[in-house]
């Protein structure tokens, strides 16, 4: 493809936060009037790449050229004046101010007296929005309109800055189907104006619908650049996850071993579950003594499904049965009483109480059972804490050490112990080994296996395909909020699971 110089070229970009590299020799090229998909898992470096480009963060090394000239934006505002606008996932406009004010924010038209010329601005805003076929009362507060309209206004604002490149960070995550259609139409109009678009999304179908080319990132590097047409969905998923399609048999990268499998009767059964915008039709089941893997791409609705089972968010449709009985949890406390434990993927914000000790974090849920007349039985508490510290090998200077001082792996062990000391029937683990070093990871995987062998039912969400494939006795795959496939025993292998993540069931790569 012998086209002219790309409009944007980022080459050899390095960026570290502290000692942790976020970008390693990453690159991105976008041509004029082109829609470029930018995809990758959590922590792949997409957001950092965007931040480096729009001046939010400073790069450590590398070159960026725009239209052949070196690019040196040091703030998103400066990038905007230079022709690169970013539409963030959470729209960064002011909901209480009018549409007009939002469009003209920071470059208001003034009369000769230095007062705001509202009339001129309103006319300008109307004209601008008409270009996108949007007809709204520009005097109304922005917040009164739907998310899609707000996004259009943000895009219109970007274009009115003479944007030559618009970056959209997961623009469809809060839109419904018709709204997505409107957004795509807008993107096509941008394309017709020779404006380039960088489109970040996890929904593969959307990428094929609007994007020309795709850049795949993984672990801070750019691992593939291709036209959309030259890459199948399966190839996209495999590249994102870093799995070689030819490598069919696994080498045993995780610490899950084939345990003595004594799988019991059904413990949890979820039928036709719908939760908010993210989950529309999910069904799964967990039996005693088995690890059930829940696979899917980011945004497929895995966490939302887990939270609904745990009573942490309401579900609109479907049934959740625990031991054959329909549950009616209105809060996690109800689920806990019924024998369910849940470890969130966000340890820091939804797991630990940072200022409290290991002892208190470990017994947080058990506390009512550890007390008589509301008074904590401290000797029993201490006994239990010491037992679990020893049994699952939590490394801490003493039970009184603050949990925030522990490593990620040890924090996770404390959180696991928080549930294990309750003797649960079912444990829901959302990304149990995320952000944990290799050694501790293997220990936690071994522990999960052992718990299942002892009769616990485990529902495990993981973005690491080998963790799902090697760790699970059965695997369910969610894709865009729908359960698309179930694999059992020997049928669990990476190509099959990745295929289901990419296409849904039945389709062949």
């Amino acid at each position: 493809m012998a086209t002219a110089e790309p409009f944007l070229s980022m080459q050899g970009i390095n960026k570290s936060f502290g000692n942790i590299p976020a970008l390693i020799d990453a690159s991105l090229e976008v041509r004029e009037g082109e829609v470029m998909a930018l995809i990758g898992q959590n922590g792949a470096g997409k957001s950092t790449m965007i931040k480096v480009l729009n001046g939010f963060s400073r790069k450590d090394a590398g070159t960026i050229t725009v239209n052949g000239a070196p690019w040196a934006a040091t703030s998103p505002e400066m990038a905007q004046r230079g022709g690169i606008s970013t539409i963030f996932q959470e729209i960064n406009l002011i909901p209480f101010r009018s549409v007009t004010e939002n469009i003209y924010l920071g470059r208001e038209i003034k009369t000769r007296l230095g007062l705001l010329d509202l009339r001129a601005m309103q006319a300008g805003a109307r004209k601008l929005l008409a270009e996108f076929d949007i007809d709204v009362d520009v005097r109304r507060p922005l917040g009164e309109f739907s998310t899609a309209i707000q996004q259009m206004v943000a895009i219109a604002r970007a274009v009115s800055f003479d944007a030559r490149l618009v970056i959209m960070d997961e623009p469809t995550s809060s839109l419904d189907e018709t709204e997505v259609g409107v957004l795509f139409e807008t993107i096509r109009r941008l394309k017709a104006k020779r404006v380039a678009v960088v489109f970040v999304s996890h929904k593969l179908d959307e990428l094929y619908a609007v994007c020309d080319r795709v850049t795949v990132m993984r672990d801070g590097r750019t691992v593939a650049v291709s036209t959309m047409a030259d890459m199948t969905k399966l190839q996209l998923v495999a590249t994102m996850l870093g799995r070689d399609l030819a490598e069919v048999r696994r080498a045993g990268a995780t610490a899950f071993t084939e345990g003595t499998r004594t799988i019991g009767e059904e413990l949890l059964s979820v039928q036709d579950l719908a939760v908010g915008r993210r989950v529309s039709d999910a069904s799964l089941s967990v039996r005693r003594g088995e690890i059930v893997g829940l696979a899917g791409l980011l945004g497929a609705g895995r966490t939302e499904t887990a939270r609904a089972i745990y009573g942490a968010s309401p579900h609109e449709k479907g049934s959740i049965r625990l031991e054959g009985k329909e549950t009616d949890f209105t809060a996690p406390a109800d689920a806990i009483k019924a024998g369910i434990g849940f470890c969130s993927e966000d340890r820091k914000h939804e797991g630990i109480i940072p200022g409290m000790s290991v002892r208190e974090n470990l017994t947080l849920a058990l506390l009512p059972a550890l007390s008589r007349a509301g008074i904590v039985d401290e000797s029993r508490q201490r006994e239990i804490v010491l037992r679990f510290i020893k049994e699952i090998g939590i490394k801490c200077s003493s039970p009184e050490q603050k949990i925030r001082e522990l490593s990620g792996g040890n924090q996770q062990k404390v959180l696991l112990a928080r549930w294990l000391c309750m003797n649960p029937k079912l444990l829901i683990l959302d990304e149990p080994t995320r952000g944990i070093d290799v050694g501790a990871k293997a220990e936690i995987q071994r522990l999960i296996r052992k718990l299942a062998d002892d009769g616990l039912g485990v529902l495990m969400i993981s973005s690491e395909i080998e963790e799902i494939v090697e760790g699970s006795d059965r695997v369910f795959v969610l894709r865009d909020g729908k359960m698309t496939a179930e694999f059992d025993g020997e049928a669990i292998n990476e190509p099959a699971v990745m295929g289901a993540m990419a296409h849904g069931h039945g389709e062949v790569a």
């Binding site: 745990y310 942490a312 809060a331 996690p332 406390a333 689920a335 806990i336 009483k337 849940f342 969130s344 914000h349 939804e350 797991g351 630990i352 109480i353 940072p354 200022g355 409290m356 002892r359 208190e360 947080l364 849920a365 506390l367 009512p368 550890l370 007390s371 008589r372 509301g374 008074i375 904590v376 039985d377 401290e378 000797s379 029993r380 201490r382 006994e383 010491l386 510290i389 020893k390 200077s397 003493s398 039970p399 009184e400 928080r418």
Partner: protein, 340 residues
């Protein structure tokens, strides 16, 4: 504590010297050292420079000055421990203070005799105060109103209720039997000081040793995590505001007993800021999750003692306010050092 004869858990390697501190040691934990040092320094300064400092009279004056602030501070510390704040304490004091004399004087409804009247006055006034606290807690927990706004409602309306209730009149009374709760003495120490000490010790113990106390701190430390761990976050929040209301009610009764008059316009006026200052100086984190009742007591004592020192040595009250502000700045700075 009840768990006396349980077999001590066999010692586990690596656990040496890490027992949770018990008794007084737990109550006066290491983080109070700075506060205590400041208090001791102030005392030494006064023993040397302030005339007539080492007298029972001075002690009584200072303790009674600090009593009301500490009693309200007990409830406030609980509220702040959950990450909230209660601005309505002064107004709730006024409500309880305006309500009680009407009961023991028999103007509201006939009472058989004075002692029944006093008992009813105390119980009913504090109950009413508790219900106003419940209203605060209800707004905060069920409607997720920001605590500062939710309690601002009663801050404004509460005093109005007390004024309307009494027609804005000053109620003067002479009922020594009732006034014992403030001015009666036990072992030479005013009865209100004993009330304060009892409340402080009970609350400090409850915060450390009861499920409720630990849940209060867990909610303040990380509300989302606490909720996911099954802690009844809403109930915990509701309760701390009730406790704050009850403490304010008690404080309101002590104020009218001291003055032998109830003036709805003045009872507890501006006390919320003094109380919050005492809580902050004492070392409780205003963002929640770390709280110390003993610290609040010490904080209130320090503020009072500084004020007394300056006054007794001829510095005007206006200047003392500036010093008080300086103390708060210092306390906040110390907290930041601690967190880093």
């Amino acid at each position: 504590m009840s768990s006396t004869t349980q077999n001590a858990p066999s010692p586990v390697p690596g656990s040496v010297g890490s027992r949770p501190r018990g008794g007084i040691a737990a109550v006066l934990s290491r983080r109070h050292i700075g506060t205590i040092a400041a208090l001791v320094a102030l005392l030494i300064f006064n023993f040397i420079f302030t005339p007539h400092f080492a007298t029972m009279q001075t002690l009584s004056v200072n303790l009674t000055q600090v009593c009301v602030i500490v009693i309200v501070g007990v409830g406030m510390t609980m509220v702040i421990a959950t990450g909230g704040i209660d601005l309505s304490v002064g107004s709730i004091m006024a409500i309880a203070g305006a309500f009680a004399p009407q009961i023991f004087q028999g103007t509201l409804f006939p009472v058989p005799n004075l002692y029944t009247g006093i008992a009813l006055a105390i119980v009913l006034s504090i109950t009413v105060a508790g219900f106003f606290g419940l209203f605060n807690g209800w707004l905060v927990s069920s409607f997720r109103v920001q605590p500062i706004i939710a309690t601002l409602i009663l801050y404004i309306a509460g005093r109005g209720i007390a004024q309307v209730w009494t027609n804005g009149d000053l109620q003067v009374f002479k009922v020594p039997e009732f006034q014992q709760i403030a001015i009666g003495r036990v072992f030479g120490v005013p009865f209100q000081v004993w009330i304060m000490l009892a409340l402080v010790l009970i609350a400090a113990w409850a915060l450390q040793r009861t499920v409720f106390g630990r849940q209060v701190l867990a909610v303040g430390g990380n509300e989302q995590a606490a909720w996911l761990a099954g802690i009844p976050v809403r109930r915990v929040k509701r309760r701390v505001y009730v406790i704050s209301g009850v403490c304010s009610g008690i404080a309101g009764l002590i104020v009218i007993a001291m003055n032998s008059a109830a003036d709805a316009n003045l009872i507890g006026m501006g006390i919320e800021l003094d109380v919050i200052a005492a809580v902050a100086v004492g070392g409780t984190l205003l963002s929640g999750g770390r709280a110390t009742i003993i610290g609040t007591l010490l904080g209130a004592l320090i503020i009072q003692l500084v004020r007394y020192t300056l006054l007794a040595n001829g510095v005007p009250d206006a200047a003392a306010l500036v010093v008080k502000a300086g103390l708060i700045v210092l306390a906040v700075w110390l907290q930041r050092q601690d967190r880093a």
